[in-house]
Amino acid sequence: MSAEREGTERHAHPTVGVYLRVGAALVILTVLEVGVFYVPAFHVVLVPVLLVLSSAKFTLVVMFYMHLKDDNKVFTFLLGGPLVIAVGVMVALLFLFLGALTLRGAAGAG
């Protein structure tokens, strides 16, 4: 056996207690999201607040329920690489389509 083989997989899964606490956090975050949506005072910052809250939920599920936090980094890479590309593509497309007016600038085509 070469040194590269690191033996069988370590099962460093969280305990049921952690699962329950994460579940509670997810519920609270969802309540916050819906709450923010209904409070007029928040409407100025609605989009950034919602994006932060939903990323938090996303991260919690991926880290704890999908065990990425303690699992092999290869899995993080297999999710993270494409995720970065997907987000990059999304931002670029929004820029190309919605930013068209400013982007076109001198071209003035629109």
């Binding site: 190309l96 389509f97 982007l103 076109r104 600038g105 001198a106 085509a109």
Partner: protein, 602 residues
């Protein structure tokens, strides 16, 4: 442990080597079909006002030529080598998921057959033969492909066929990523992987990320055509440009999906025949990864004429030009590999060097249309046709032929004839330059691409005739290649384990390898295991007879049954018959369940 024989054993096979051969022969058949389509195109254009085929037929020919060559010939020829060589190169007994591998092949075959069936099934749609093949171009620009402008089933075949082929590529992508990351022999660290395996890995990452995008684009088109949505319909407030973005988001990575495997082959062939390690191996690997990454940031350079605005044009021009850097680095490393070597001019080396020489031209003309204003004169003309053929023919096909001549003895146990091989090479080399070089001029002189006819006043008749002659030279060279393949069955010299003195693991087993590949899984201690360098001697080849019995997994029908569900599902919208959809779904689900619960040990 002896190999099963007979038709059933091939239909149910899960052996990566057999699947590799199936891929090879199927892709070769499609390559010939695509080539015949190309000859029709060239005959039509041999002179102005050509009358050989009608406008409608011509549009089907160039659409099917592009689609066939890209999805049914070049990608699967690459896949044939992934299948056959990657497990051998990493010291594995098979891929990670042998049945998924069979599934990929069958899906590819059925998808290809569905696409090509469109040539003949016109009468079923109350149209003539040769009337309902896809005719919207391999790029299928909306809104021309919408039902309003393409009412027939032509585009339906294209959309459904590509969706099916995408599933095949995706399944193979997951399979090979896991195989390469997780099935390596002891000691085969990532930076000891042969360059071909590395480029395969990068290619698979591009496949699993790029294909979902085209899947979505095609799904929108499918919904527009069948279910009355308006994803690309201007009248509903949508824009057909969305299709172009989705298509090229996939399309540019696709270009590298086609070229990276060929680069990998060349990176393996050059060291073997110059008897020198690949120069700058880590740099070649990293530049391959970089090219893969950068291919995600350049797609809009296919759309400079769309009018995205000066800022977007500048950004995409810059990223596109930057890609030339890692590509150039690879070329310099290949030349440096040859430099100081003891170069044996085998056919495989001829093709590998031909790849470099021709790919340089394709790369440089690529830089000329990375510049948006210059591209405004070049895009959609024959200049770009010249460019893509220097990249795909001079590049990918030369690279893959290098692979064929290099690995044929390993795959069949017979050597190909070197004299015929060199005749093939030189004819193909001259033919391709005759066929494609004049296209640069034809384009600059103002002939657009995808035209079934052109006016004599354009002044490009003679150049087109030269190009047509070149195309027939290529056809002749391919005939010689086929003769060579055929003759090798009976006249080819039996191949020893290692006819070339290769450094990588595939040469340490018999030709063709036993069904279990390695009698003993090798333990790898360095990057060139079979060579002696200043630091180490060659490793010992595994014994010819396994010291203990090796379990070889049996075959399975279920991957094929599940795969068959997909074309049947596709028939439902094509024929507007609902019950067919249920049959297809039932086949797919039954196949998957039976497969999941069938005992299968690797």
């Amino acid at each position: 442990m002896s190999e099963a024989r007979g038709l059933t054993s091939w239909l149910t096979t899960t052996d990566h080597k057999r699947i590799g051969l199936l891929y090879f022969w199927t892709a070769l058949a499609f390559f010939l079909i695509g080539g015949i389509e190309a000859l029709f195109i060239r005959v039509q254009l041999a002179q102005p006002n050509g009358q050989v085929v009608s406008a409608e037929t011509y549009n089907q020919l160039f659409t099917m030529h592009g689609t066939t060559m890209i999805f049914l010939a070049l990608m699967p020829l690459g896949a044939s080598f992934f299948n056959y060589m990657v497990p051998l190169q990493i010291g594995a007994r098979d891929v990670a998921f042998p049945r998924l591998n069979a599934f990929s092949y069958w899906v590819f075959l059925f998808g290809g057959l569905l696409l090509n069936a469109s040539w003949f099934v016109g009468p079923l749609f109350h149209a003539g033969m040769l009337n309902v093949a896809p005719d919207g171009g391999w790029f299928g620009y909306a809104n021309l492909t919408e039902r309003q402008y393409s009412p027939g089933p032509n585009i339906d075949f294209w959309v459904l066929g590509l969706q099916i082929l995408g599933i095949s590529s995706l399944a193979a992508g997951f399979n090979f990523i896991v195989t390469i990351l997780n099935m390596r022999a002891p000691g085969m660290k990532m930076m000891r992987l042969p360059a071909f395996t590395w480029m395969t890995l990068v290619t698979q990452f591009l496949i699993i990320t790029a294909f979902p995008v085209i899947t979505v684009g095609l799904a929108f088109l499918m919904f527009d055509r069948f279910f009355g949505t308006h994803f690309y319909v201007r009248e509903a407030g949508a824009t057909p440009i969305l299709w172009q973005h989705l298509f090229w988001l996939f399309g540019h990575p696709e270009v590298y999906i086609l070229i990276l495997p060929a680069m990998g082959v060349v990176s393996d062939v050059l060291p073997t025949f110059s008897r020198k390690p690949l120069f700058g191996y880590p740099v070649v690997v990293y530049s391959g990864i970089l090219i893969g990454l950068m291919s995600w940031g350049v797609w809009s350079h296919h759309m400079f004429a769309v009018g995205l605005g000066p800022i977007a044009d500048s950004v995409f021009a810059a990223t596109t030009m930057l890609i030339a850097v890692p590509t150039g680095v690879k070329i310099f490393n290949w030349i440096a590999t040859l430099w100081g070597g003891d170069i044996r001019g085998t056919t495989a080396l001829h093709f590998a060097v031909g790849f470099i020489a021709m790919f340089i031209i394709g790369g440089l003309s690529g830089v000329t249309h990375a510049s948006p204003p210059a591209d405004l004169q070049q895009t959609d003309t024959y200049y770009v046709v010249a460019h893509i053929h220097y990249v795909f023919f001079g590049g990918t096909i030369f690279g893959l032929f290098a692979g064929v001549y290099y690995w044929w003895p390993k795959m069949t146990g017979r050597l190909l004839d070197e004299t015929l091989g060199k005749v093939h090479f030189w004819l193909q080399f001259i033919g391709m330059n005759l066929a494609f070089f004049p296209m640069h001029l034809i384009g600059l002189l103002g002939m657009p691409r995808r035209v079934y006819t052109y006016a004599p006043e354009l002044g490009v008749g003679t150049l087109n005739l030269v190009s047509t002659i070149g195309a027939f030279l290529i056809a002749l060279s391919i005939l010689i290649f086929l003769v060579n393949l055929w003759r090798s069955r009976t006249h080819g010299q039996p191949a020893p384990n290692d006819p070339w003195g290769g450094a990588t693991l595939e040469w340490s087993v018999s030709s063709p390898p036993p069904v279990y590949n390695f009698s003993v899984i090798p333990t790898v201690t360095n990057r060139l295991p079979r060579w002696s360098t200043e630091r180490h001697g060659p490793m010992r080849d595994p014994p010819a007879v396994p010291p203990e019995p090796i379990h070889v997994p049996g075959g399975s029908w279920w991957p094929m049954v599940a795969a068959l569900g997909l074309p049947v599902l596709a028939l439902a919208p094509l024929t507007q018959t609902l019950w067919v959809a249920f049959v297809g779904a039932a086949l797919l689900i039954a196949g998957v369940y039976a497969w999941a619960f069938q005992p299968f040990e690797v």
